[in-house]
């Protein structure tokens, strides 16, 4: 689960991680008021969307307006906010369709001496959280890794112990910080790591992490992603969720206990199991088609879930055919067909439907399909299924 920069900074502040002064604004008036409140000669008005690349991003409605802008008066704050709020920001990460900006974060201007990179993630290989730091702040970490791999510092830590001050110093020396900066890092870095662990984050990224004119570290940006599996321990996180940032069908699927990801193609997929669902997409592509989605109905899908799955697939206007691929293990094939036929009637599926079944009770399931009198194409194996569903589009 992702959250906005301003939310991440509020959590940082609560965890004693130093952040600049900032005020949330949801109207031009609030933006102007925020500038007055901050009282610095320069302030920064920042669009709040989950995607990165906001500074270089531009608005569809106002092609000259950047997603992050410096202002020097309340009036400028107001004018910029007028153009930004309600408009669509397109960045390298949003895709062409962009994201609507509904919230701004107005921050104090700062005297910045250096821009660094700081991230904390889980290192799967080692099985520990790792601090990633670099002197090349402001660049994407992938870019740094590609262009200056030698400038990436990695330091693992035990979550039960946290990042020790000597480890913080090690990172600080490697970043070339001066005495004030090293002392600041001894405080700053362990707190970010504690936040990462206690908050059950899957990523905490501060890019840039700045060294101020006074030599202190400050989180100028904040990108936080929480581990979805740990949300049960953090009931308060649900208030941080912004459904506007999520694909509505993906939210709908989640509520039905389905795993769904929308893609750009025109062949809908309904599969049991994540690995098989991914493979089904791959197979469609291999035979010249384009998958419209990833959809895993899970191991114990019932009639309601299968019906909901069809609804979600068909809500995508691009879908011109559907491939159902079920390997019935614990879930019996006849149960799936029963659900499928019920869903077929209740939704009124009009696009071609190709069904590939294998596994427990497959004979009975195939008979049920054949006897249903519905326009459902049966496939014998994976390849046959993919060819048939791609074939329906050519006709």
């Amino acid at each position: 689960m992702k959250i906005h920069e301003y939310q991440a900074k509020q959590l940082f502040a609560a965890a004693d991680v130093p952040v600049p002064q900032g005020v949330v604004a949801r109207s031009p008036d609030e933006a102007a008021k925020a500038y007055e409140e901050l009282g610095t000669p320069v302030a920064v008005v920042k669009s709040q969307i989950h995607a990165g690349g906001r500074g270089k991003g531009r608005f569809k409605e106002h092609p000259d307006q950047p997603g992050v802008v410096l202002v020097k008066s309340a009036e400028q704050a107001r004018e910029n906010a007028e153009r930004m709020l309600g408009s669509t920001l397109v960045t390298v990460q949003t895709g062409e369709e962009g994201k609507q900006v509904n919230t701004l974060f107005v921050e104090q201007g700062l005297d910045i001496a250096r821009e660094l990179y700081l991230g904390v993630v889980i290192d799967r290989e080692v099985g520990l959280p790792v601090v990633i730091a670099s002197s090349e702040g402001g660049m994407a970490i992938e870019e740094i890794a590609h262009e200056h791999p030698e400038k990436i510092i990695r330091e693992h830590f035990d979550p039960a112990i946290g990042l020790r001050p000597y480890q913080a110093r090690k990172i600080a020396y490697a970043l070339g910080l001066d005495a004030t900066g090293v002392r600041s890092a001894e405080n700053f870095l362990p707190k970010v790591c504690r936040f990462f662990v206690d908050g059950d984050c899957s990523m905490t990224e501060i890019n840039p992490l700045v060294v101020t004119g006074e030599g202190e570290l400050l989180a100028l940006d904040a990108k936080v992603t929480f581990d979805d599996n740990a949300l049960f321990r953090h009931k308060d996180y649900k208030d941080l969720r912004d459904l506007n940032e999520e694909e509505p069908t993906e939210v709908q699927a989640q509520q039905a206990g389905l795993s769904y990801v929308k893609l750009d193609g025109n062949i809908g997929c309904l599969v049991n199991g994540a690995g098989l669902a991914m493979s089904t997409m791959d197979l469609i592509k291999l035979h010249g088609g384009e998958p419209a989605n990833f959809l895993d109905v899970g191991g114990g899908a019932n009639v309601d879930q299968v019906t909901e799955a069809f609804r979600i697939i068909l809500a995508d206007e691009n879908v011109q055919a559907i491939l159902v691929n079920i390997f019935g293990g614990i879930m019996k094939c006849d149960t799936i067909v029963e659900a499928l036929l019920a869903a077929y009637d209740s939704i009124g599926i009009t696009v071609p439907l190709v069904v590939r079944l294998e596994g427990t009770n497959v004979e009975k399931a195939r008979e049920m399909l054949a006897e249903s009198g519905k326009k459902i194409v049966s496939a014998t194996d994976l390849t046959d299924a993919a060819k048939k569903v791609v074939g329906t589009l050519g006709a």
Binding site: E142, G275, M278, F327, T383
Partner: protein, 301 residues
Amino acid sequence: MPILVTPETRFITQGITGRAGLFHSQKCREYAADECGRSEPVLVGGVTPGKGGSDVDGFPVFDSVRQAMDETGANTSMVFVPPPFCADAILEAADAGIELIVAITEGIPVTDMVLVKRVLDDNPRCRLIGPNCPGVITPGVAKIGIMPGYIHTPGTVGLISKSGTLTYEAAWQLGNVGLGQSTAIGIGGDPIIGTTFIDLLELFENDPGTDAILMIGEIGGDAEIRAAEYIKDHVTKPTAAFIAGKTAPPGKRMGHAGAIISGGSGTAAEKIEALQAVGVEVAESPADMGSAVQRAVERRG
């Protein structure tokens, strides 16, 4: 000789009084008795704290893993405990001296798994499979997990997979070309897992009952790339592989918590390239997994 699940295996189910725990325990019992002709019970009981002394469908229930081991002689545990309590259940099993823990549970927080891994790394006698996996089956001997038993036939292919239903698909395809499995293991789709491709490649390489290996990976992380490096230096048996998710877009989690292309790495293409570079026969499509093993075997002559 199969690996992990052998004729000596006796296991318990942690979380046996839950709906899924009981259902799959019954299926494991049926498989051992009906498909493998085992006369003595292989699944010897279960653990649910607070329900010790009771009986659920013929399985004795114990309060603790230690107690269950003392009473039944179990050396293995299958874990169905819900995510908030699952790490604790795994640690209890490890502390009690269980040798093989098979964690089926999906949705354990990754920080919990970091701690579990820290503890298990210091306990070399104990091996964890999973979590978020279908389990382990040695066809004809026993199954510990949720896979349908009948699609697996006894044979000499070692099967290692990150995915559940894709493993079934692979076992079925292998069966269609007349290849059974020595042991099939689902290692799980989470970012941090107990047993990796490399651990199992080593076991299969050293297992006289295994003649060829099929590994099924997916996007996310770099476990398959490290497996390729290991294969280069240590695996002499014919090896085939399939990587799911060639068409997955970056930044989107594909069902499994670990199946996500992030920062441009963890793509199917780079994994396939790494495996092919060390002589692994990579299946072109998921429909080609069974034939890929055949090709790998034929190539070695």
